[in-house]
């Protein structure tokens, strides 16, 4: 992490590798916490930890194929844990696209700076919610509002949490 946010060619971007099982463990933990934490702290439902993990590993791995596959797996697992009201594929589609976008952007930008991570996470969160609303509206015929204050607040909160979380996850990298 060099503390900069600059545009570079893809060949000069460093591809981070993680310790064995780090991605799996981080993903499972995020899903477990996401599923269990709001039970005790209702306000925690505003967080989308699986999304943050997807964004992080997408930005770090910088491989679109890996990013979208990871997003798909995380999204489908989240769908599976979300109960019968959420059909399989709802989060899967959204996180697949976010994983792809994150890894694609990560391959072109240096996203190690906390400000960059904050901005990108907020943007990806809004995009993620937009994809979910789009899916609900088009595929599921479920009318959902596109934009509201809750969305922006949630985006900011998740972006703030992401800055901290990503620092923690940085520790899982191989040096």
């Amino acid at each position: 992490m060099n503390g900069t946010f600059d545009i570079r060619s893809e060949s000069h971007i460093e591809v981070h590798k993680f310790r064995a099982g780090a991605i799996i463990i981080a993903t499972l933990l995020a899903l477990v916490i996401q599923a269990s934490f709001p039970i005790h702290f209702a306000k925690a439902a505003i967080l989308d930890l699986p999304l943050l993990v997807t964004i992080y590993f997408g930005l770090s791995r910088r491989n679109p194929s890996t990013g979208l596959l990871l997003g798909m797996v995380i999204g489908l697992l989240q769908d599976s844990l979300s109960g019968p009201t959420v059909p399989l594929g709802l989060y899967g589609i959204a996180k697949t696209i976010i994983g792809y976008l994150a890894s694609s952007i990560g391959a072109r930008l240096d996203t190690e700076h906390p400000a960059a991570r904050f901005a990108l996470t907020a943007a990806f969160f809004v995009a993620h919610q937009g994809l979910i609303v789009l899916t609900r509206r088009i595929l599921l015929a479920q009318p959902e509002p596109w934009l509201n204050m809750h969305l922006f607040v949630a985006a900011l909160v998740n972006a703030l949490v992401a800055v901290v979380l990503f620092l923690l996850l940085d520790r899982l990298r191989k040096n």
Partner: protein, 300 residues
Amino acid sequence: MVAIPSRHKSLVLLAGIILLQVLLLAVQIKRDSEGRLIRVWTVGAVSPFERAGSYGFGWIRNSWRHYFALQNTTRESEQIRHENEALKLQITQLQGKAAEADRLAALLNFRQAHGDVPMIGARVIGTGAGTASLTIQLDRGERDGIRKNMGVITPDGVVGKVIEAYPNASQVLLLTDKESGVGAMLADSRIQSPVGGQGEPLLVMKYVPNDDGVNLGERVITSGMDRIFPRDLPVGTVAEIKSGNPFKQIRIKPAANLERLEEVLVLLSLRPLEMKNEEDTGDAQPPASGAAKPPAVAKR
């Protein structure tokens, strides 16, 4: 296989995975009124092709029915037309046969009614070649017992007499010929007078005095005096009466349809014959007047 550029592989993978998940969604989602989304999508995706296919097949079917099949229809129509013509011809033939049967039945009845009169049926096989004489050819001749001067009749009336008899055919001079004649009399007044032809459709009754009463439409029958035809055979009806000097000019419409003869009866006896007449209840009356009576015999 089409090689996918490496930079696009992830994009293709993304599209494939998104598509799979969309399908996954579609399989799960069941809309209230339209069933499962996958079914809605499938129907929505396939129905345009089905519709196009239906229209296409419909167009092909209609084209086949209205164009190509018309060729068969034309053939069938042609065949039906031929069959129709054949059937019409058959009907005409059957009608002809029915009419022939009727005529033959009439001849047979006539023969049965006059069983004591020897006669033979003959078919008209031809007519005279020229206009100078009014003759017909019969399919029976000397081998059938036909001889010259034998009388020829139909149930309707007198036709003429045989003027030539060949082994297998015979020639008949019609009553309308100028040289033809028959001993006749008026059925009501019993006035006797020969009736002869003039080469025209109507006959002439020649020797009826002016003061003898003759009515239009009166029947003329054979008198038997010509020794060819039996008595009381219909000859015709009075069609026209004019005063003359010294005899009336009486024109007779032949009883037999001499212009359309197909079957006739040939009287096989040259002896004087007496014909039974169902309508005649009394004996023949002598002429009412004492006018001069010419010989009531055929001219030839």
